[in-house]
Amino acid sequence: MNIHTSRGSRSWIVAGTFGAVIVSSLTACIYVPSRRKAAAREAAYFSAHPELPPSIAKAIDQGHVLLGMTKEQVWVVLGDPAHKRVFGENGSIEIWLFPAHRLHQDQLHSHGTSSFRLTFIDGRLIVLEPI
């Protein structure tokens, strides 16, 4: 009896999990997806900064983050950080954390890691590390 009850509850767990996935996916359709937000961010940034160096413009266009980028440029590529801390005098050092699925540009050291940690000093990116 216990075994049957246990199996029944497991079936509900499976059904509930897949149901949640489907409902979540359908619910997502009524939201503006993040990918489109990224495209809109790019559009706005490129319009406001036609003087961008070609290397930076190409990196943003391809979704790459480069050392030396400004906070705004990183934000255009990756969006809002999942976590943010400010240190240093006058908040000159900022640490941003992003989920790993946002960025795939260092596949030798990042596969399986859960996050990327970005450190800015005086508004410029100086460290990008998978953690």
């Binding site: 997502a28 503006v32 809109a40 790019e42």
Partner: protein
């Protein structure tokens, strides 16, 4: 008379011509005025669009993404062209356009070589021959649609090919939920989710072979199975907290066996991260996993894990010196016909970046075996790593392992070359 008539004709023709010229000039002026008004209207419209779509970023506050309006999206340029001050912005350059129907493809080679001896027996941990291309990992990654992306990682060994991971992710779900479905490495503990080539060593720690994989012959041990994973970041002030729940089919190497469809396995993981200061951060995690083992559906294996990581990086010389200290503790309760085997394993490691491209590290291992907790294996490793570039890595590792059965001792010198080719594209979400 004839001359007068000719003169009159000339006068009439001239008058008509002058009249026509006047009308033509008036038409041109009118058209020019109309065009000027149209240009002014377009300029005003462009300025309004720029003003509406530009989002200022403040230096000390997190930028907030505004959902784009349908008008903004419909007017967003999407074509190619040159990036000059005049034209509108460009998306998807020629490089992306040429592979628009292809995923990003990458390939990672993992060449490993081993030498040394094993006193008291020839068996050792995940035996490494003199030379082997232990794994060639092919990755295929692409955005499916605005709501999902797909990731495939195929592990191609000398004996066959395996889907190491293959899943669809839904990163745009409301509420900050990230859902994955497919085959994946489970988020148990710290290292289980890591691919082999991202480890700071050539091999995996003993505890993973003894308690998570059950097979000492598999170099890529760990919990990996087909199922569904859901994770969410939990707001907790200065601490970054992430909770992950996963349900799998219940087949994972020799650790879990699904004798019937309802024999599922589950993994729960909670991870917290804290920046002590701008140079030092700390990460702690707790994990639990449960599944059925090969003895039968009424016999389960439960795993409990705790992991801790301390990182330090000197920001003044950020690319030259860093340190990472890791430890992971795992407890296993395995039911079988003779009772419950309660085994414990631990590893600890220290890795220091001595120069820009050089890393020196050490690791100790100590683990009982999941199937026979009376056998205790232990190991020590010293590791030296060199990164010629972002795309290659050379590593050597000395490993001394003392096996609990028969007092065997293996001294091995391992060598590894990692290299990657192919796409390194990123996909912003």
């Amino acid at each position: 008379m004839q001359r007068s008539a000719i003169a009159l004709i000339w006068v009439v023709l001239f008058s008509l011509s002058a009249s026509a010229q006047t009308h033509a000039n008036a038409d041109v002026d009118a058209r020019l005025r109309a065009l000027e008004e149209q240009v002014k209207a377009l300029q005003a419209e462009l300025a309004a669009l720029r003003a509406a779509s530009s989002m200022p970023v403040h230096a000390t506050s997190a930028p907030v993404a505004e959902p784009p309006t349908s008008a903004a999206l419909s007017t967003a340029p999407t074509g190619g062209g040159e990036r000059t001050p005049g034209p509108l912005p460009v998306y998807g350059g020629a490089q992306q356009s040429s592979k628009i129907f292809n995923p990003d493809i990458g390939m990672i080679g993992n060449f490993v070589s081993g030498t040394g001896d094993s006193k008291g027996g020839s068996d050792t941990l995940a035996p490494i021959p003199f030379a082997t291309l232990q794994e060639s990992e092919a990755s295929f990654q692409a955005i499916i649609d605005p709501y999902a992306r797909a990731d495939f990682f195929l592990a191609i060994g000398e004996e066959g090919i395996e889907v190491e991971e293959g899943y669809i992710s839904f990163p745009a779900l409301p509420g900050g939920l990230l859902v994955k479905a497919g085959k994946m490495r489970a988020n148990f503990g710290r290292l289980n989710a890591f691919h082999n080539h991202t480890l700071p060593w050539i091999d995996r720690p003993l505890v993973m072979y003894n308690l998570l994989g059950g097979s000492s012959g598999d170099p890529d041990t760990g919990i990996k199975d087909a199922g569904v994973s859901a994770s969410r970041i939990i707001p907790a002030g200065k601490v970054f907290v992430e909770a992950i729940g996963e349900v799998f089919r219940g087949d994972s190497g020799t650790l879990y066996t699904s004798s019937q469809r309802s024999d599922l396995s589950a993994v729960g993981h909670i991870r917290s991260y804290l920046d002590f200061n701008e140079e030092t951060n700390f990460e702690a995690g707790a994990s639990y996993s449960r599944g059925h083992n090969e003895v039968g559906s009424d016999f389960t294996t439960q795993l409990y894990g705790a992991d801790f990581t301390l990182r330090w990086r000197l920001l003044n010389r950020a690319i030259y010196h860093s340190l990472a200290a890791r430890t992971e503790l795992i407890w296993s309760n395995r039911e079988d016909l003779g009772g419950t085997q309660r085994a414990f394993g631990i590893y600890g490691s220290l890795d220091y970046q001595i120069w820009r491209r050089w890393f020196l590290g050490g690791r100790f291992d100590r683990s009982e075996r999941g199937r026979d907790a009376s056998i205790l294996d232990s190991s020590f490793s010293g590791v030296l790593t060199f990164w010629p570039s972002e795309f290659s890595q050379v590593r050597t590792q000395y490993r001394r392992t003392r096996f609990g059965d028969g007092a065997r001792v293996a001294n091995e010198l391992l060598f590894q070359v990692l290299f990657t080719i192919g796409a390194h594209g990123a996909h912003p979400f």
